[in-house]
């Protein structure tokens, strides 16, 4: 009878290392703060293998806490470990070691965890410590539905993600602790045009007023005989790791085939209106990927002043005629973030087609997006 070697796990199904590093850098400035960033890291890690899941565990003043997960399976498997007080993700965090379970069905180290994992179809696990300045701040865990051993390439990808994620998380948390400096940074990086972005970066870095930042920019521009816009673009690129978004037309990003879509006035079919009581936004018209920046900014604005626990954020979609998955994803992420802050994001008066879109795209995921009928 013929024999077949177990095939190695196809490493980095969607990414190569360079792309992965770029992707994580982009997330660093486009996420909703540290929590949103952690979700992006979990999603990226989960995508390293076909049908993978991932979760991020961070040490919060010595207490391990699951800060993000790519789906319900990963969330459950982290909950089991935290309840049991042991498991691969906790071992990676505590002992600063790479932990691998090549086959949860036969692995004897953590019976409670392994049984739960195998029961939910997860057959292999890899947990990587996240190290910043020689101390372990968290761990990143990849769950795979395939029993084979993890390849060297996949291991490299995980190490890279854990390293970048650890540093990114720490810096975002530090920014948050610095208070409104981080708000300037977030606002600067999510609004256009590029000069405003650069002013925001300088304000955050130098803790100065907008006027002083603009003076710095102008001085640098005239001293070096360079256009204000070019200097600004350089500052934004340095701070964000990616060139600023170009407002109109299709432009190539350096070294990749990914183009930024035109935003705002190019389509102009989405109207976003802020509302005060209840706090939230009203969306009208059509929301597609070209409006993502507009929508992200509007939602991000809601979190600049943290919602009080128990204080709902309401997104009124009664007059929204169309939404695509790019914009729907922003609503789901916004809801996750609200949930983490002890608040709720409520979708008011969604149409039947919006609900069916949610159902067919995110029904398998843990949803914090609450839905209510209009008044």
């Amino acid at each position: 009878m013929e024999t077949r070697e177990p095939r190695p796990l196809p490493a980095a199904l969607t990414w190569d290392l360079h792309e992965l590093a770029q992707a994580i850098q982009r997330r660093l400035w486009s996420s909703f703060g540290a929590d949103g960033f952690a979700y992006d890291v979990a999603a990226l890690a989960g995508d390293l293998v076909a049908c993978g899941s991932a979760a991020v565990l961070m040490s919060d003043r010595g207490r391990p806490t699951t800060v993000a997960h790519s789906d319900a399976t990963a969330a459950d498997l982290h909950t089991v470990q935290l309840a049991d007080g042991d498991g691969p993700s906790l071992a990676a965090l505590r002992a600063n070691v790479f932990v691998e379970l090549a086959d949860t069905v036969s692995d004897e180290r953590w019976r409670v965890f392994s049984e739960k994992a195998a029961g939910s179809g997860v057959l292999a696990v890899a947990a990587v410590p996240m190290v910043v300045e020689r101390s372990v701040v968290g761990s990143l865990t990849l769950y795979s539905r395939r029993p084979e051993a993890l390849s060297a390439q996949l291991r490299t990808c995980l190490d890279l993600l854990a390293d970048q994620a650890g540093h990114g998380w720490s810096s975002l948390v530090r920014q948050r602790e610095l208070g409104d400096a981080s708000e300037h940074m977030v606002k600067a990086l999510t609004s256009r045009p590029v000069i405003d972005q650069a002013i925001g970066v300088l304000m955050a870095e130098s803790r100065c007023t907008a006027g002083a930042a603009f003076d710095m920019l102008r001085r640098h521009s005239s001293n070096n005989n360079r256009k204000l816009r070019d200097v600004a673009a350089e500052i934004v690129t340095r701070a964000s790791g990616a060139p600023p978004e170009t407002p109109h037309g299709f432009t190539f990003r350096d070294g990749t085939s990914t183009r930024s879509l035109p935003t705002g006035p190019a389509t102009g079919r989405l109207t976003v209106t802020g509302t005060d009581a209840p706090r939230g936004v009203r969306l009208a018209g059509e929301a597609d990927a070209t409006e993502r920046t507009t929508l992200r900014d509007a939602l991000g604005e809601l979190f600049v002043r943290p919602p009080a626990p128990g204080d709902d954020l309401v997104v009124d979609v009664a007059d929204l005629e169309f939404i695509d998955v790019a914009c729907l994803r922003l609503l789901v992420q916004g809801a996750d973030l609200a949930h983490e802050r002890g608040s709720r994001l409520v979708l008011r008066s969604p149409s039947a087609s919006l609900l069916s879109l949610l159902e067919s795209t995110w029904s398998a995921a843990p949803m914090h997006l609450d839905v209510e009928d209009g008044p």
Partner: protein
């Protein structure tokens, strides 16, 4: 006889049975099922009514230990089939099964008119079911199935099974390679002038064109809505991930809507793109998954100079 772990590996073992007579069909499938029952493996059958009756006769009283799935429910759409089977497999694993087996056959429409995405299904399940300790035996009737389909079946199954047993299939091609081949599935409507043609469309312009075609067609409001949303998602993918120029064409008929979105890129690198549900906040793939859920046929075609996504909503039997 091999049961349980197969050839030293406990993952998915994907086998094809190409039969030319009912006798040949029974001589292979009945032992396959009996072997599973003897080893107390959960044994599942999803065939059309006529084949199922044959198998029930062949099994005699043993048939009561086999679970027969209702035809159609399992094989409505490839993306739905993968999700349904993975749910089923997970339930068996959770219930403690160490090994199980499935005998299946695609409904006639799949091999006749929408083969293109079912061929992708057969290739993709090599990845999508891997990790589950399951043997799947896919049966194809060489008397009724086109040669082109049989060629694809030989390319997508690592094993060929006959009454003499299972053998390595020398014509098997890795799923990633198979999925990067040019795909057929051109709709006859495409030979006629399109209802609309838009170069480098903004998603909003693409939706306008799709909606206008929808109004000119005989499709229902729900079909038009699904078509418009799918076209919008696929155009966004082409603009963001593809290479310019992007060309959208739409056709309208009394019974269906057809769209092609072509760009100069090479398409998604993930062989499972659109066929499996992405994770909650993962960025790529959700739009294509949506199109696979909403349309009645989706073809991803890679030619030397273009990557084309073809969407059909409505009647596909042309």
């Amino acid at each position: 006889m091999s049961t349980g772990v197969v050839d030293g590996r406990s993952g998915h073992v994907h086998e094809a049975l190409l039969y030319g007579s009912d006798e040949e069909f029974l001589a292979t499938t009945v032992p396959f099922l009996c072997e599973g029952l003897a080893a107390r493996e959960p044994t599942v059958v999803s065939l059309g009514e006529e084949r199922e009756a044959l198998v029930r006769d062949g099994l005699g009283s043993d048939a009561r230990h086999v679970s027969f799935l209702r035809d159609g429910a399992q094989y409505g759409r490839p993306s739905g089939a993968i999700e349904a089977y993975r749910d089923l497999f997970s339930r068996h694993v959770r219930a403690g099964a160490r090994q199980f087996r499935v005998l299946g056959a695609l409904p006639p429409a799949a091999t006749a008119t929408t083969w293109s995405w079912w061929a992708r299904y057969e290739a993709a399940v090599n990845l999508a079911y891997d990790g589950f300790p399951v043997r799947t035996l896919c049966s194809y009737d060489t008397r009724t199935v086109r040669d082109e389909v049989l060629d694809d079946v030989r390319s997508t199954h690592p094993y060929l099974t006959t009454s003499a047993g299972r053998a390595d299939n020398p014509d098997f091609v890795a799923a990633e390679d198979f999925l990067s081949r040019p795909a057929g599935g051109v709709d006859p409507l495409e030979a006629t002038p399109p209802f609309a043609e838009v170069l480098d469309p903004l998603p909003a312009a693409a939706r306008d064109a799709a909606a206008a075609a929808g109004r000119a067609s005989g499709c229902t409001a729900t079909q038009v809505r699904d078509f418009v949303a799918s076209v919008s998602e696929v155009v966004v993918n082409a603009l963001v991930h593809g290479q310019p120029p992007v060309l959208l064409r739409v056709w309208a008929a009394s019974d269906r809507l057809v769209a092609t979105v072509a760009d100069r890129g090479t398409g998604p690198r993930d062989p499972l793109a659109g066929l499996v549900r992405g994770s909650a906040s993962a960025r790529p793939g959700v739009g294509l998954w949506l199109a696979h859920q909403s349309c009645d046929h989706v073809v991803l075609g890679l030619d030397p100079d273009a990557f084309t996504v073809r969407l059909v909503v409505g009647e596909t039997g042309h």
